[in-house]
């Protein structure tokens, strides 16, 4: 089984449905549509939750309460942690119903297309996210490559926004984002190569399966993990690397001229990208949906229902992802913004060499493993590598 559509097909085949309905539901197109709907629904809820969470966490860091009024009243009464649960939903409705103002001198097509591209790119990344065992929309055998490619599309959208807005602040923001994303993509790719080398596969599910058999790839890729998180922060334009929208310098950078839902799309994309980066970090370095010390293998062997097994995997995966998300939020509310030249220096002169070192360590580790444990064990564990 591979992907959501297969899971749904199995489900529909088991359900007592009229044959005609079953045939309709198990059509390839319908199955894909269902998984797409599922993923879009998931992202919407997730992003609203993440924005609320970030506001609550920043409030705690800054010794205030954060949003408190919107949301169920029983959560409101004096509980600083759960107030305002529906605040972001209310904000989203407000933004949706607002008029989108298009300034007079913009390059209209580019201006309108930019937020769509940024948002679409962030949605596309979810296709390969391994939410649980066999639970990805589609487990591409070039998953990692696909993720990196889709991640680069965001640059295109931001540059279009910067150029199309026909505003000096936006242009500066757009230029900054291109410089930043290109220089941070390279250390990121090299950091990702460590786990890919060890698993011998570009498929995220397979990388996780190898981690299930051995150990989390954070060992020996600890440097790679740190590099990936830092580069990922820069890639998603989050503080302290939020130069493209550095609000004290460039007003709001490339989003200066956007309003209403167009603005909201940039905003949602930022949070959705943050989740993607965290999810990929969890999948590549922290074992994805697998638990360490062979627990997952024991669960797999215990013969529990596959649905339960998948669900438990999803819980594990989301927990790991949320931990990384929390770290990103913590960093955001603690540090000042770096300067544009320092950002470049850091990317090229610090992160890139370290990511090389990480790749080297991973390679040496593999050779050493083969030498110590012998060809047979190696083959059994890193199956694909042989």
């Amino acid at each position: 089984m591979n992907g959501f559509d297969h899971a749904f097909e199995a489900l529909f085949n088991q359900l007592p449905l009229p044959d005609a309905v079953r045939q309709l539901l198990t059509m390839k197109v319908v199955l894909m549509l269902i998984s797409m709907g599922l993923i879009i629904g998931f992202i919407s809820v997730l992003v609203l939750f993440l924005i609320w969470l970030e506001r609550k966490i920043s409030a705690r860091i800054q010794r205030r309460m954060g949003p408190m009024t919107s949301g169920p009243s029983f959560l409101r009464s004096g509980n600083m942690w759960f107030g305002g649960l529906l605040q972001t939903a209310a904000d989203a409705i407000k933004l949706l119903t607002k008029e989108t103002v298009t300034p007079a001198d913009v390059d209209y097509i580019v201006f309108v297309l930019a937020p769509c591209i940024v948002f679409a790119a962030s949605l596309m990344a979810y296709v390969v996210i391994p939410f649980g065992p066999d639970a990805s929309v589609s487990d591409l055998n070039v998953g990692v490559l696909y993720l990196l490619a889709v991640g680069s599309m965001t640059v295109l959208g931001i540059m279009m926004a910067g150029w199309g807005s026909n505003s000096k602040y936006s242009l500066l923001g757009g230029l900054r984002s291109v410089a930043q994303m290109i220089s941070y993509e390279i250390p990121m790719i090299f950091a990702v190569l460590g786990p890919v080398l060890m698993a011998g596969s570009l498929s995220l599910q397979e990388i996780i399966q190898v981690q299930e058999r051995t150990a989390w790839f954070i060992w020996p890729n600890i440097i790679g993990f740190v590099v990936f998180i830092i580069a990922g922060t820069a890639e998603t334009n989050r503080p302290p690397f939020d130069l493209p929208e550095g609000e004290s310098e460039l007003v709001a950078g490339f989003v200066t001229e956007y309003s209403g839902m167009q603005f909201a799309m940039f905003f949602l994309a930022e949070f959705s990208n943050m989740f993607v980066i965290s999810a990929v970090a969890a999948a590549l370095f922290l074992g994805g949906w697998s638990l360490p010390f062979g627990i997952t293998q024991m669960m797999r062997a215990s013969g529990m229902p596959h649905v339960l097994f998948s669900a438990l995997g999803a819980v594990v995966f989301l927990t790991k992802t949320l931990v990384i998300v929390l770290i990103l939020m913590w960093v955001r509310w603690t540090f000042p913004r770096v300067r544009v030249d320092q950002l470049m220096h850091f990317g090229w002169k610090t992160l890139l060499p370290f990511s090389f070192v990480n790749l080297l360590i991973a390679a040496v580790y593999m050779i050493a493993y083969k030498q110590i444990f012998g060809e047979a064990v190696f083959k059994q564990i890193f199956g694909a590598m042989s």
């Binding site: 800054q62 500066l172 550095g246 310098e249 509310w333 000042p336 913004r337």
Partner: protein, 376 residues
Amino acid sequence: MINTEEFVINMGPQHPSTHGVLRLMVKLDAEIVVDVEPVIGYLHRSLEKMAEGRHYGQYIPVTDRLDYVTSMSANYVYVLAVERLADIVPTPRGDVIRVIMVELNRIASHLLWFGTNALELGATTPFLYGFTEREKILDLFESTCGQRLTYNYLRLGGVAYDLPKKVEFKWTDGPKTFEAACEKFLNEFPPVLDMCEELLTESAIFLKRTKGVGVLPRDVALAHGVSGPNIRACGVKYDVRKAVPYSIYPELDFDIPTQEGSDCWARYKVRMDEMRQSVKIVQQCLARLPKGRAKAVLPNRIWIPEGEVYSRIENSRGDMGCYLVSNGSEKAWRCKFRTPSYSNLSVLPVLMRGALVADLIAINASFDLVLPEIDR
């Protein structure tokens, strides 16, 4: 070859980081600042001219609008000038209360600066930390004079009201006298300040953003008449409170913190140290607060004999002066203020040339400019 050219960008008058209505015409070569020209005057309200149409006492609330972040010291410099011209002696209690208020106001002003300076560098959290503490000072002010920003508290011969007997805020644990509440704040404040410093002072990114950025050569600073924490960050130990003492300052024990770096970090550090000195000053004032009236008995309208006077004080941005000319009537013939931000602003273009856009904001923030004081 690609044909490249510089482009001009207008930062302000409406820009998140120019604090009010400063307009910087910035000529940019990509991210590098080629030239900067500050344009001022968007907030001109002819405050000095207004002094000529009002009685000496009536003008005091207008001085609040000179520098809304430290209204107390703006009150003070004007009141001091009138008192010197008219030979009015403030009551001992009034005199000490003035110092307490001005120093508390200095802390509040520096806290606001601490927050906004960090905000310009992209750190949001220090802003909230600074404001939480500033709020307590504003509570104290509100209990005393009913205002939180433009106090209109100082009067000829003292202060408008005596310190309140009973104040109660969220942070005082029940009702207290003003003195006790103030003491409580002063005891709790230094640890919080340490925490704020922990967040920024040694933070690697903060150091990278401020160390060696906007280095102001000492001779340039002196030539432009830069004053206050900005000149003390150049290693010049100059403070009006020590150099030309006024009020009870000669009797108080405090230091003038200086730094040698001349950069944004030095300016930051000087202000952080200054807050600790202000705490020390207020504590001494509270300990020696004399009994008696807070305001001398004076008629509402006073006629001052012909003459002229120049008074100066150290406000939180530097050397603030008031030049007052009387022609024997009940109104000033001419009132001219020397405001520190005006001179401090004049040196900015020198520092900003060749810097990056981000540095430009950092330098601007580190100078702690307040625009209404520049435009007047």
